[in-house]
Amino acid sequence: MSRMDDGELVARLKAGDQAAYAQLVEEQAARIYRLALRMMGNETDAEDVLQETFLSAFRSIDSFEERSSLSTWLYRIATNAALMRLRRKEPEQVSVDEPLERDDGDLLPRQFFDFCCLPEDDLLRDEARAEMLRAIDGLPATLRSVFVLRDIEGLSTEETANALDLSISAVKSRLMRARLKLRERLSTYFSQGPVLPDTRQ
């Protein structure tokens, strides 16, 4: 039997077909886990978000309208689950009403260290990657969700807007803020030079 396309899969999901449920997990779980891990920053919370996402998707499959793809729909559920969880954990940090279009003063670049020409070995080492992940964690959740969907998961601006219920311009502005903040942090990190644990005199 050939793989079901979205429409056929949706029909079988709505009919309560267990094999269709299993197929959805098979096809989407890894992606949702990745998103959850980048959003939450730790495996325990990521697993909770993963489970919540599929439980909630199966509960509400009847209300799925095929305006978006199944995978965008799942991203939307997963991002909501992650944001809700983050709000519970760090209520002061996550505000839906965060003024995003305000003055860009706090975004003005301050670091002008050109780390582009550093050796790839320095840029790609484990420590640098750990810092990159910490930098994602350091973003406010509303910026993090846009950055993770666009730049980590590779969704288009439109798909991201759809998954997050945002306007295109809000996605663009949040993505820009997120990227500038990350650039700032990586510039600071790389300007300090590689830490060489084996440097002995």
């Binding site: 039997m1 267990q18 094999a19 449920y21 299993a22 197929q23 997990v25 098979e26 779980a29 890894a30 886990y33 990745r34 891990l37 495996e43 697993e47 993963l50 489970q51 599929f54 439980l55 199966f58 860009d104 975004l107 003005l108 670049p109 002008f112 260290f113 050109d114 780390f115 582009c116 840029l123 790609l124 640098a128 990657r129 990159m132 992940l133 730049d151 980590i152 663009k172 502005s173 993505l175 820009m176 990227r179 500038l180 990350l182 650039r183 990586l186 510039s187």
Partner: protein
């Protein structure tokens, strides 16, 4: 004369003005006119040049980040929570059922 009339110059107002366009510039979706303006500005403004380069590099470094795998144990627990345990047989596990 204000900064907007001298877009090529390296002034804080100009650098600020272009800040919001850098994303579109990097993705190649900035309007032609603004694109020329920004490029002329970057010729004289080292700061903006560095910001553009490092911003693009930041994005490309994140693109190169290895994707974490879904651990098998996590997948097993997910299927258990969803009452889909019977479908866990390395791989899709749905073939036998569909063969009925």
């Amino acid at each position: 004369m204000n900064a907007a009339e001298r877009p090529h110059e390296h002034t804080p107002e100009n650098c600020r003005r272009y800040l919001g366009s850098l994303g579109d510039y990097i993705e190649g979706t900035l309007g032609v006119e603004l694109c020329h303006e920004l490029e002329a500005h970057m010729v004289v403004c080292e700061n903006c040049r560095v910001v553009v380069n490092t911003l693009a590099k930041t994005i490309s470094l994140y693109h190169q980040l290895p994707a974490p795998e879904l651990p098998n144990a996590v997948k097993e627990r997910l299927l258990a929570v969803l009452d889909l345990k019977p479908f866990l047989q390395n791989g899709t596990g749905s073939e036998d059922l569909q063969a009925e």
